[in-house]
C-alpha cells in the first residue's frame, strides 16, 4: 500500500475527542500509516495507539505542535498534500491526478480550519459538496484512492495483534491470542 499520513487540525480538546478518535481509527482501518494530531490532546492518541496494540498493524498516532511546520517539512521532503474540504474540487474530478502520488498527506479539519490551509494544500478536495462528516469524507477518499490503485483496503491484514475477528454470518466470533 502507498504511504499515507493523516494530519488532523482544528481539534478542540474535550469537544472533538470522539470524532478525532473516529478519524484516527478510520485512517488505520483503511490503510493510512500515521495520524499526526495538531493538538496537545494525549488521551486521543493513547486510545488510538491502544487499539493498534491490541488489534495489530503498524499504525501510529502522535501529537505535533505546529500543523504548519508539519506541512512545510512534508513538502520539503517531496511529499504532496490533500486537504479535505467540502469547498474543494469534487473527488471524482481530481482522483486521477492524485492516484499514485506518494507520499501523501491528507489534512482533515474539524469545524473550523485556519484559512492558510487552502493555500498550502496541493489539492483541496470535496467528498461531495454537501455538509456531512470529516470521518465519512476520509473513509470514502481512502477507499477510492486505494481501490483505484488496485488495493482493497477492506482486505488489509493487521499482523501482530492480540485480538482478531473471524467473520461470521450471525453473532460475534473473536479470537484472543493470549
Amino acid at each position: 500500500m502507498m504511504k499515507i499520513v493523516i494530519l488532523r487540525i482544528g481539534h478542540r480538546p474535550q469537544r472533538d475527542q470522539r470524532v478525532t478518535t473516529h478519524v484516527g481509527l478510520t485512517a488505520r482501518a483503511l490503510g493510512a500509516s500515521t495520524m499526526l494530531l495538531a493538538s496537545n490532546d494525549k488521551g486521543v492518541v493513547q486510545s488510538i495507539n491502544e487499539v493498534s496494540r491490541q488489534w495489530g498493524g503498524n499504525f501510529i498516532a502522535r501529537t505535533v505542535t505546529s500543523w504548519k511546520q508539519e506541512i512545510h517539512d512534508w513538502k520539503d521532503k517531496g511529499g504532496k498534500v490533500v486537504h479535505l474540504t467540502m469547498y474543494g474540487r469534487n473527488l471524482p474530478d481530481v482522483i486521477d491526478e492524485i492516484s499514485g502520488i506518494e507520499p501523501l498527506m491528507i489534512v482533515v479539519g474539524a469545524e473550523k480550519v485556519p484559512p492558510g490551509i487552502y493555500q498550502m494544500a496541493d489539492w483541496n478536495v470535496a467528498v461531495g459538496s454537501q455538509p456531512h462528516s470529516e470521518i465519512a469524507a476520509l473513509a470514502v477518499f481512502l477507499d477510492r484512492l486505494h481501490t483505484l490503485g488496485n488495493n482493497d483496503p477492506l482486505a488489509l491484514e493487521f499482523p501482530g495483534g492480540n485480538l482478531k475477528i473471524i467473520a461470521s454470518e450471525r453473532g460475534k466470533n473473536m479470537e484472543e491470542k493470549y
Copy 2:
C-alpha cells in the same frame, strides 16, 4: 437512486449526539432517503432536518419508538435489512448479493447493540473487521453500493436548498439564494 433507509440504534442522548448527527448527514450526502433514530432525541433530528432545509434534497430524519417494530414493519413490506457490524461478513464478500436489492434498510449501531439484531438482519456486514467508526462504515457501504449500481453518490444533486457550494481550487465559494 435506490431507496435506502438508515435505522440508527443504540444512541445515547447527549453522549452520541455528534456521532449520530454525522451518521445522518453522511446518509443524506451519500444518497439515503431517511434516517430513523430509535431514541427520543429530538435535537439530533432537528439539526439534521435543518441541514436538509438549507441545503436541499428530500432527506428526512425522524425519531421512532421501537427499532424492533420498525424492522418488523419493514420486512412485512418486503424490505431487506443490512446490519453494519465489524463481526459480520466482509463487505467485498457480500456486496454482490446486496446490490440491486430494494428497498434496503441499513442498521447502524452505536457502541453497544441489542443481540437480537444479529438474528433479525438479512445480512450482518463488516466494513473491514477492525474497530473504527460507524460513520466511516456507513460511508464506505453506501459509496460502494451506489457505485456498483452505476451511480456516483458524489454527483448527487440536492434541489431546492438555499445554500450551494461552487467547487473551487482554493478557498470558499458559496451561493446563497435568498
